[in-house]
Subunit: 298 residues, 2 copies
């Protein structure tokens, strides 16, 4: 059985296409790794790459890409709106197929150790790979950013998890972790009342006592006369697409509003679709292995 | 974009494992072709192979497998319960990903021409590849079987579509075609009344005025105290899994019976799952390309 891992590194470079192309080339050069997506933002001066493959190949590609970034990005000169700690700022690994979260955490930890050994970049572990609860949340680990961490990295609270307590002179530090796949899922409502969308978002999101592993916002769809409940399902095994949809539909129904449509933005793991079919069809014993296209990679 | 075609050849051999292994080896030997399944039945003296890949590779594998079968299967000595016309009896091609039915028909026609050119086996085209309405249905084309066709192949009604009007002396003739993927889908009912399952099957199946492209039977699930509506969805783009499930559930509801669970037997194309999600979630603009695992083959 093939094991598939996704890797979504965030680099502190969003303005020099030639640097982004070199990072992309390093990823593409590793056999068995497929670069699925690359996005960058000039204002944030930041880029996000998405690639997948077998665990060893994905780690290999991540380290090669890190090598390019460490060589070409100088945090001493980096300016951008988005918070950041290093040239390779965040390195999350995501289990996709045939691999457990525990195995993905081990992969992330190994990648962190090699980052230090090969490139002398100190590493923090976050989310599922965190070594302490205080370091689970990415914003917490990144507090103070590159400039602040240079001053406090030797303090006990800010010592890196791997490597010596000093920032790489140009590449800073890297935050490495493991997390479930994230699904960006929106439900449009047949009303122009933003207060309804905001109230539903509050009802369904985890932080206000709603569904586990759901983040949600109410947004206006300008020009369409409609509003949207825009969600991130950060762990679809806890709350899947079907459960999120039904919760929004039920809340909308209580407000006398109908659902217009829903949309998935970007990629979803096959398992999320299988779960959706299982939910609505009382489908039993069905696995991703029964999907023809999934069998092709096996 | 990758094009994927499935091929499901039926051979008149179900008793000699060494012959089946040689057919399997011929298929596996073609780069880019993946053999997904092989089933055989001693009583039918028949075997069914399932493999997938890009169109040219799949055609290549089908012809190589046909060559093995023509060399090793002698229809003069073949006995078995299942109707058959030749050593390679039926050769259906199924569009899976990135390929139209029209392109699949062209592939089937080309394969049929090469079967004659390489092996001197006359060919009939059926289903979507049929050249006349009288030859769409497989049982119609196979009427009289190997023994009968030897006698009437030169009559206008039975002349092959490709090749000269005489049977191959040991391999007979082959029926080549293109058809949509078939989904085997069952819904179990919380009742032991077989008459209810049979009545629902009649309501939902096409031949009695029910849903298009649906075949259905009512069956007893022995030992479970339940009955089952067992369906073949022969074109899920006309009636998909969700529509079939909802029709059975509605009919069961009218009979005061509840659905226990449903199951998919064997493989389904990813598109059928995407359609199911789209049905229940009012999901718009979503395509199989957004499924991570599907992107890996692209």
């Amino acid at each position: 059985m093939t094991q598939l891992v996704e890797c979504v590194p965030n680099f502190s470079e969003g303005r020099r296409p030639e640097v982004l192309e070199k990072i992309a080339s390093a990823i593409r050069a590793v056999p068995g790794v497929k670069l699925l997506d690359m996005e960058y933002d000039r204002d944030h001066n930041r880029s996000v790459f998405t690639f997948v493959g077998e665990p060893a190949a994905v780690k290999h590609a991540a380290l090669d890409a890190a090598g390019v970034a460490v060589g070409l990005i100088d945090m001493e000169r980096h300016r951008g709106e988005h918070p950041r700690l290093g040239a390779l700022d965040v390195l999350p690994f995501v289990p996709i197929l045939g691999i457990t979260m525990a195995e993905t955490v081990e992969l992330a930890r190994q990648a962190g150790r090699e980052l230090w050994e090969r490139l002398r970049v100190p590493v923090y572990f976050y989310e599922e790979a965190a070594l302490s609860p205080a370091r689970r949340s990415l914003p917490d680990v990144r507090r103070g950013e590159y400039e602040g961490r240079k001053l406090n990295i030797s303090e006990p609270a800010w010592r890196p998890d791997v490597g010596e307590p000093r920032m790489h002179p140009t590449a800073g530090a890297t935050i490495v972790g493991a997390r479930p796949p994230l699904i960006a899922y929106n439900v449009d409502l047949e009303t122009d009342r933003l207060d309804v969308a905001k109230a539903i978002a509050r009802k369904v999101r985890e932080k206000d006592g709603g569904l586990p592993a759901v983040r949600a916002l109410g947004l206006e769809l300008s020009g369409k006369g409609m509003v949207q409940v825009s969600m991130n399902l950060v762990d679809f095994r806890r709350t899947g697409i079907a459960a999120a949809f039904e919760a929004v539909r039920a809340e909308a129904g209580r407000a006398g509003v109908r659902v217009h449509r829903s949309e998935v933005v970007g990629l979803v793991p096959l398992e999320a679709l299988v779960d959706c079919a299982a939910h609505y069809l009382s489908l039993q014993g069905f696995t991703t292995d029964q999907v023809l296209e999934a069998r092709l990679g096996g």
